[in-house]
Symmetry: C2
Subunit: 195 residues, 2 copies
């Protein structure tokens, strides 16, 4: 599929891969230029500075997480359906690309002030809706903060610790993918048993 991407988009794409792997300080403009098939001068023509390029990459990456969370928290679905959807979508997405997860976690902690900036922008998540719903749809007066924290934790941790868990549990690539797939129903049953 030969879609003529603009140079701008091509750069953003390859820059993502480099920044995911090496972070802001470790990435090299030369390497990004090489991967994009242009030279450094052209790269600086499209993005004045490295930081500027980095910011574009980060915002895009962050948005891919916050939008999914916002979707779950703000939709009209019943709670159990919401949870089930979140688990499935998150695990499927991270199976395709877990590099983005480490990247966002790291940068969010290296530069936490950025969060304020990003949260002020569009697509804000409204936690109060979720809280009300938990109150209405659970029988056990579940703490919504705990439930939400668990939901995200159980889904993303196996990707964060993937290299070390694979090693510890002695699983190869295929066995680990099966493990991740199995976790979907395991997580759902854990979360729903709390309601």
């Amino acid at each position: 599929m030969e879609k003529t991407n603009t140079a701008y988009e091509t750069i953003l794409h390859v820059a993502s891969e480099i920044f995911y792997k090496k972070g802001l300080a470790g990435a090299r403009m030369q390497e990004i230029a090489d991967l994009a098939g242009i030279n450094k001068a052209m790269l600086h023509y499209y993005f004045k500075t490295k930081e500027q390029l980095f910011n574009q990459v980060f915002e895009k990456a962050f948005f891919s997480f916050s939008s999914r969370i916002a979707e779950v928290l703000n939709s009209e679905e019943p709670l159990k359906i919401k949870i089930s959807n979140y688990v499935d979508h998150t695990i499927d997405a991270l199976k395709l690309n877990r590099g983005i997860l480490i990247f966002v976690i790291y940068e969010l902690n290296v530069n936490p002030e950025r969060i304020t900036e990003l949260f002020a922008g569009k697509g804000n998540v409204d936690f109060s809706i979720f809280k009300k719903q938990v109150k209405a749809e659970s029988k056990n007066e579940v703490n919504a903060d705990m439930l939400f924290t668990d939901m995200v934790a159980l889904c993303i941790y196996p990707f964060i610790a993937q290299p070390i868990l694979k090693k510890m549990m002695n699983k190869d690539e295929i066995a680990y993918r099966d493990f991740l797939e199995e976790r979907k129903s395991w997580i759902k049953s854990t979360l729903i048993s709390r309601l």
Copy 2:
């Protein structure tokens, strides 16, 4: 190698703080020297290269996690006690220093080959003991891989995502610390209900 020097210890300590915050590529030898109260030449006298210093810092940080996990997995305690101890110790330790967590996660993913090296060394964790114990002490034929993954996930995620969770849940420093404390019993009850 004789490493009983005070300067040696001081350097390792301040280097940790810098590397935790900025990673290998982002850290500056000058900054480490300044914080340690020496100059760059002296720094290179004690640690020939930046990588060498980094490796020492990383191994120490990694060991602080793996030793606690090994302790839990290999001890003679009943399963429920083990789990309870792990939750308490992990949350207490991370309350004091969460920077180390982000650091280890990042470097473990940036350079996963390092794991092989470290796992081959001392203090290796033996997962099979834990597996046998779960089989013996649980009534529901619980999947030990899942249980272990959940245990770690539920404890460390609130520290990984601390800045963003604080923002989302609208908690200040004190409220967040209370939340973390509350999680101890919440997590234990979640895990034990699975057994």
